[in-house]
């Protein structure tokens, strides 16, 4: 049971990190293309990356709670 909990905990943290890192890179690159200054682009992208990573964590947890049985 503890092992299951650790796996679930790790998976949520992984979702947050993957989305945050991915979005901050993509977001910063998109903003730079639009001509936004690099430091401003990075800070804007970091903010939106945090927000979207938490939304992804929420959706992931809800999805797993509702459809987890399909994969177990």
């Amino acid at each position: 049971m503890i092992v299951d909990s650790i796996i679930r905990l790790t998976s949520v943290v992984a979702v947050i990190l993957i989305v945050a890192l991915g979005w901050s890179r993509i977001g910063a690159a998109r903003l730079k293309k639009k001509g936004v200054e690099e430091s401003k682009a990075k800070s804007e992208a970091k903010k939106s990356a945090t927000k979207y990573s938490l939304i992804a964590a929420f959706l992931y947890m809800v999805a797993m709670v509702s459809v987890a049985g399909l994969f177990m």
Partner: protein, 295 residues
Amino acid sequence: MKMMYGMLMALAPATLYALYAYRLEALLLILTGVISAVAAEALFQKLTGRKITVTDGSAAITGLLLSLAVSVSTPLYALAVSAAFGIIAGKQLLGGLGKNLFNPALFGRLFYLFVFPDSILPWKLPVPWREAVDTTAAATPLEALRETGETSPEILNMFLGRIPGTLGEISALMLLIGAAFLIYKGYVRWRIPASIFATVLVVSAIAGQNPLFHFFAGSLMLGGFFMATDPMTSPRFPKGQVVFGIGIGLIIMAMRFWGWQTPGVYEFTEGTTFAILTMNLFVPYLNSKFRPARK
């Protein structure tokens, strides 16, 4: 800050009843929830070089709300980890109080349900009522509804708190006393609980089930009065608040009827957490859509 301490006062009746109902187990859970939330906030702010703001009472409220939203069977470590997750992921990562997207207590509760689903069971009856029925564990009213299709527990028992459930949800009477205080003081956006409860009553009546059963069952009242009304994660304008409340009510009833569950792993019968968190996502849209026109 005045409002935060007002909220703590409003939660006092439900907290005292939880202590009466579950004694030392409840005390340990409540202390763990509050201390973990406050410690997580202070530690995160210290490590990130921000001003430490634990004295504003918001972290303590998050910890208390989360501990009132868990089963008495919950291990202390599960609650501690969930409270820390709720504070850090649900509040601090986005910049702290006022910038959070989700209600931190509910985000912590979703995490708790997802990571520690086994820790919820068994549901236990409050200690003073165990001898009368000669049993400790029992199904919650919503579980009984799912299993038998009947709204079986007596409404009076649900009102007074003679049923199993999470620490804070078992006595509707105590929650109503706290809610009356919040409304009297003007600390909550009353349209939100009013529209949630109206939706639940109407939908249950249409479905041919006892509306009062649904009104008093599960964490509807705890969530409706104390969590959905969080000023940071609820709409600012009246029409938005009504839409927000109706959305929560509809999701709650949908989950009570059909459930979101995985047999053997996740078997939840209550949807208040999912409903409020889902509607939290729409708050920015509702704020822009229903912003009153300037004259």
